[in-house]
Amino acid sequence: MGNKADELVKSIAEMDEEKAIDLANQMLAEGVDPLEVLRLCRVAMDIVGERFEKQEYFLPELMMAGDMLEQIGAIVKPLLMDQAGGEEPETLGTIVLGTVHGDLHDIGKNIVTFMLELNGFKVIDLGIDVPIEKFIDAIEENQPQVVALSGFLTLAFDSMKETVEAIAEAGWRDKVKIMIGGGQIDEQVTNYTGADAFGKNAMEAVSLCNEWIGGAA
């Protein structure tokens, strides 16, 4: 079984989809604990994440790994129904995230969500074209350490500025860090919106959260 476990990790990490799904099925059929299979998936995802950070892997690899994980998850899920519900996984911190109002783009936002979750953060993803009040409600409900505003269009500059101002008016500005990101975002836009920082890509979003929340830097 040890050998198959290593093989499963390796095939996910190397993007060998067919083999990965096949191995997961075999192991479950042989009676391996479904939770163990999921643990191996997480080990593989850590490798994928590391390679992404080192710029050996890029978005297609993240998508493929995510999809393999979903497929294995779907196979494992019915088997877990019988077992006692596992405890909530520990998280490093909570991030409320969304694409600001007026903007319907979500590719970049989804990748940031994916990478934050992979790195141990709990992400409350509010979707696209998010009204200001929805951000405020989500902040009040989830008490996040970080709020992440995404936007691809230049109109997002103003939507971000308004959202940051509303967070301040609601009395949350000192309690959360705000990061922004997307197509046209740079230092100048960060100053304009009143956010704390911007990230050029998903890895920078993770680094900022690590820095602010004090996770593994």
Binding site: P60, M64, D67, L153, F157, Q184, D186, Q188, Y192
Partner: protein, 419 residues
Amino acid sequence: MTSDVDYDAKELYAERHKRVQDAISLKETDRVPSVFYSMFWYAKYGGVTCRDIMYDYDKLSAIVRKVLNDFQPDSFSLPHPIIALGPSMEAMDYKQLEWPGHGTDPNVSYQFLDKEYMSAKEYEEYIFDPTGFYLTKYLPRISGVCEGFGKLPSFPGHYYIQSVLGARYFSNPAVVESFQAMARAGDEMQAMLSKAMAFAREMGDAGFPLAQGASAISPFDYFADYFRGSKGVMMDMYRKADLFLEAMDKAAVFIVRSAVAQSERQPCKTVFIPVHWAFDGLMSEDHFKTFFWPPFKKVILGLIDAGLNPLLLWEGDCTSRMELIGDIPAGKAIYWFERGDLFKAKEILGNVTCLRGNVPPSLLNTGTPEEVDEYCKTLIQVVGKGGGFILDGGIGVPDEALIENVKAMFDATHKYGNG
């Protein structure tokens, strides 16, 4: 007899046209040329809504006329074919965009819907019969009124008397309805284009040459954006690599044919190609070299062979790709970098392609005229040195740019000459 005014405008046209063409040919010019390109900033400048300029062709023309007179660029992109689409899109029940008053606020630009419009299983079908697939499967998915085309048969199976018997498909009520609805959309589009071309001629007579005519796309973006969706195409690079490559090879031929056909009706021989999926960090260099560049290069070379000048807007930061994209004939293309490092581009690509750009949208929208002026001065002095440079914003004039900043950008080419 032409009047002095007409004669001046003609001279001005010739002078500006030559300035831009010389920049493309990498010759030194008296000053760095400018181009006016924008999408919805016209609404801001004209004090109307984004919806207004998508629906009212004359209103859009009136605003562009004023902009050209106020800013005096060396050439301009006719915005009608990318903006004045509201009535035609409505007539087609077009599904790939949300637009002002039709999914987005009347004051917000239109936005593309990233979805799967062709499944991974359909590559074979596309490759075997692109036209049949396009007409009977793809069009009905992107246009509500085209659903009837799904009832059309596979025509090449018809022969001899079957070709006569096949006439009945053309009287199928659903097919007839689709043809009629598309004819109405076509009439609307023709009305818009007639007005647009008349306006372009009027502006030409007033001394303003066009900066672009036809448009085209890279085969990768063609499938990624408009057929498979972003997630789908990234999976295809692993799951369907051979079919994806074969389909792109096929699409490249159609893309070139379409751009050449569009150009036959156009006075301007520059073909606009926005490039979406090339930016740094999206895919590995190996993937870029396998999937992105070879089919795209085929399109670029096809256009150049047809006597056209490809204008590539490299969206995002494509600095790491600069070494890889220089293997095209010199002096034929324009590389417009949205966020890429133009100083580096000058070093790497300066002898190959004219460069264009790239005052950041953040500066144009939130900076001061002095900051814009300073930024332009540096670009003109460094990137403009020796020729082969056109000054512009990273994405032209962004929708919310401050008017005084736009003015500062266009004034800079007059102020700083050729560096």
